[in-house]
């Protein structure tokens, strides 16, 4: 059992036939107004078909259409980036260059530091400690003198220890 609206739509579209058509038209309260409305609907349908109906494309035209759409979508994607690039002022100090400059500076600093600070090889002895090469006392003045050398580990002090020098009176301590 169709509703009135279904029958009305089918009637407007001209799809009611036979007994259904007779019964529906008999049920209409104002058949004149309904006929008028049906005429308007048909006119509107024809108009819409003319204006909005699908236009069949040939193969060549279809591919052109596809290509144009692709180009348009590509240009929409790239356009904002270009506009940003052109709007910002060009600067030499880009992030990448800054990073490269920083890395280069550090490398130069490291090389300079290495060449300046590197210890010079010195026969296996550390150049950071003072070395006593030789020491002597006058045997005529201090015949019993003995000499020894050592290093203290705390302050890296090198000590030349001379024993047996002639003892002097306290007035020799004067400034």
């Amino acid at each position: 059992m169709k509703t009135f609206e279904e029958n009305w739509t089918a009637w407007l579209d001209g799809k009611l036939t036979g007994k259904e058509l007779v019964e529906f038209e008999a049920s209409l309260p104002d058949k004149g107004a309904a006929e008028l409305e049906k005429g308007d609907a048909q006119k509107l349908r024809v108009f819409l078909k003319e204006q909005l109906g699908e236009h069949a494309m040939a193969n060549q035209e279809f591919f052109h259409h596809q290509l144009r759409q692709q180009i348009e979508s590509d240009s929409v994607q790239t356009a904002p980036v270009e506009s940003v690039k052109t709007s910002a002022p060009e600067s030499w100090w880009t992030i990448r260059r800054l990073l490269w400059t920083g890395a280069t500076s550090l490398a130069v600093f490291a090389v300079c530091t290495f060449f300046i600070m590197r210890p010079t090889p010195n026969g296996g002895q550390s150049t950071y400690l003072t070395q006593i090469i030789n020491a002597r006392v006058d045997p005529a003045v201090s015949p019993n003198a003995t000499i020894s050398m050592f290093e203290t580990k705390e302050d890296k002090v090198t000590v030349l220890w001379v024993e047996g020098l002639q003892t002097l009176p306290s007035e020799y301590a004067a400034k």
Binding site: W92, T101, S105, V108, F109, C112, I116, P119, T120, N122, T127, Y128, L129, T130, Q131, I132, I133, N134, A135, R136, V137, D138, V141, S142, E151, T152, E154, D155, K156, V157, T158, V159, L160, W161, V162, E163, L165, Q166, T167, L168, P169, S170, E171, Y172, A173, A174, K175
Partner: protein, 147 residues
């Protein structure tokens, strides 16, 4: 861009040269120090501050007084100088040696008399201490420190 490159290069060169020059100019403090034991010792001189513990431990004295000193800036590494007290003098002649060290010839005189002579390679980070003769109840100590 070229100007920035020039500025950068100049800065690198300047830092390199200044660090090299800074390393080349050093001062050597030479001192004749009298060590003895007293009931109330005077404070240790500033030059010996960082060696106070070592000196006390080495020699067993509680007072250290500078009786003669000299501070010499080494410009080309070949200088000679004298640290003297009334009766003692320490003559130092330096020759440039490897980096961070100086080849020194040291002569301790008691008036005109040579008591002790030594050759040493003095390092920047390592002071030289020499035990000298007994003087009265104390001891003469010679010190050389690169400042």
């Amino acid at each position: 861009m070229r100007a920035r490159l020039l500025v950068f290069t100049a800065a690198v060169m300047l830092s390199f040269i200044s660090s090299t020059l800074a390393q080349g100019m050093e001062t050597v403090w030479s001192g004749l120090v009298m060590a003895n034991n007293v009931p109330e010792p005077t404070p240790i001189p500033a030059e010996l501050n960082r060696l106070e513990g070592t000196l006390k431990q080495l020699f067993g004295y509680n007072q250290f007084q500078v009786i003669g000193q000299s501070r010499q800036t080494l410009k080309n590494g070949e200088e000679d100088w004298l640290a003297a007290s009334k009766y003692f003098s320490l003559h130092v002649a330096s020759k440039a040696a490897a980096k961070s060290s100086y080849l020194l010839n040291l002569q301790l005189f008691q008036q005109e008399k040579l008591l002790l002579e030594t050759d040493a390679k003095l390092s920047k980070s390592s002071p030289l201490v020499i035990k000298g003769p007994q003087v009265g109840d104390g001891l003469l100590v010679l010190l050389l420190v690169v400042e």
